[in-house]
């Protein structure tokens, strides 16, 4: 049983839950907003992409930790 492998798997596995839920909520709200006001879709889209990048960054931090555990 190699703890290093398990640690790396758990790091990214658990770390991807939060951002996954967050991005799903973001996209849902953005779609809802576009549905209510299709004219503002350009603005809503650019702000959504920005917010999704912020949320995704947290998943990337978890991925970097997993990679460091595995390869260093």
């Amino acid at each position: 049983m190699d703890l290093k492998e398990i640690a790396s798997a758990i790091a990214i596995g658990l770390g991807a839950i939060g951002p996954g839920v967050g991005i799903g909520l973001l996209a849902g709200k953005a779609l809802e907003a576009v549905g209510r006001n299709p004219e503002a879709s350009g603005k809503i889209q650019s702000m959504m992409i920005l917010a999704i990048a912020f949320a995704e960054a947290i998943a990337i931090y978890a991925l970097v930790v997993a990679l460091i555990i595995k390869f260093v």
């Binding site: 350009g42 603005k43 650019s46 992409i49 920005l50 990048a53 995704e56 960054a57 990337i60 931090y61 991925l63 970097v64 990679l67 460091i68 390869f71 260093v72």
Partner: protein, 247 residues
């Protein structure tokens, strides 16, 4: 299958190490400078096809920035800085996908076993490079804030002695500035390095046909990361150069 977090050195200039990411960055810089000289040579008032194309590209980027910021003159002031970030990060991300980058190299003998060292490696898969981007972005934002608002007012955002609550908010803002460096660098590094690892693993498993959708994903991710880096720099510049009108 070898994956190394640290970029491999392939040579020395006197006592400075030359890593394969540094070599890649020189190639991308040379390509961009050559492209800029070729595209901007003798601009004319009535543009020909080539000049029209590059003007279209730059105008698309400019209009996108204006849509995010809202103020055309301010975007004009910072456009060279922001567009350079965007174009350089985008091209260095896409350069890492060219066949041969990361796969053509030589074998190095270290203490008994052999290690494969590629000649070129995607620039942003080097944490040094992404930290450099992040530090440049945050420092220029601070300087822009000081120029726009005055040194005293800008520092007054962070060291605020009006009331205990404002003081703590100032300290939090300071910590948040430092965390921006970390978040900028790790977002870009994580995306590009993880993309490289993904491609290596995919090509190791099934060398033909299967890696194609992953290459498309990597092209998309490279574009989005360049866009996000630039847009976030833009947003922080906007927040720094506008007077803090809360409370």
């Amino acid at each position: 299958m070898e994956i190394s977090l640290i970029p491999e050195t392939i040579g020395h200039i006197y006592s400075l190490l030359v890593t394969n990411t540094l070599l890649t960055s020189w190639v991308v810089m040379a390509a961009l400078i050559g492209l800029a000289i070729w595209a901007g040579h003798k601009p004319q008032l009535k543009p020909g096809k080539k000049q029209n194309f590059f003007e279209l590209a730059l105008e698309t980027v400019f209009n996108f920035f204006v849509e995010v910021w809202g103020d055309k003159d301010k975007v004009q002031k910072f456009f060279a800085f922001l567009a350079t970030f965007f174009i350089f990060i985008l091209l260095s991300n896409w350069f890492g996908l060219i066949p041969g980058v990361g796969t053509i190299g030589f074998y190095e003998h270290i203490g008994g076993h052999e290690k494969f060292v590629p000649f070129f490696r995607s620039l942003n898969s080097d944490l040094n490079a992404t930290i450099a981007w992040a530090v440049i972005s945050v420092v220029v934002t601070q300087i822009a804030g000081m120029v726009a608002l005055g040194v005293g007012k800008h520092i007054g955002k962070f060291i605020n002695l009006k009331s205990p609550i404002d003081f703590f908010v100032g300290i939090l803002e300071l910590i948040s500035e430092v965390s921006k460096i970390i978040s900028f660098s790790f977002r870009l590094f994580g995306n590009v390095f993880a993309g490289e690892v993904l491609l290596v693993v995919m090509m190791f498993l099934v060398p033909y046909i299967l890696p194609l959708p992953f290459f498309m994903l990597e092209m998309f991710v490279g574009f989005i990361q360049a866009l996000v880096f630039t847009t976030l720099t833009l947003v922080f510049l906007k927040m720094a150069t506008e007077a803090h009108e809360a409370h």
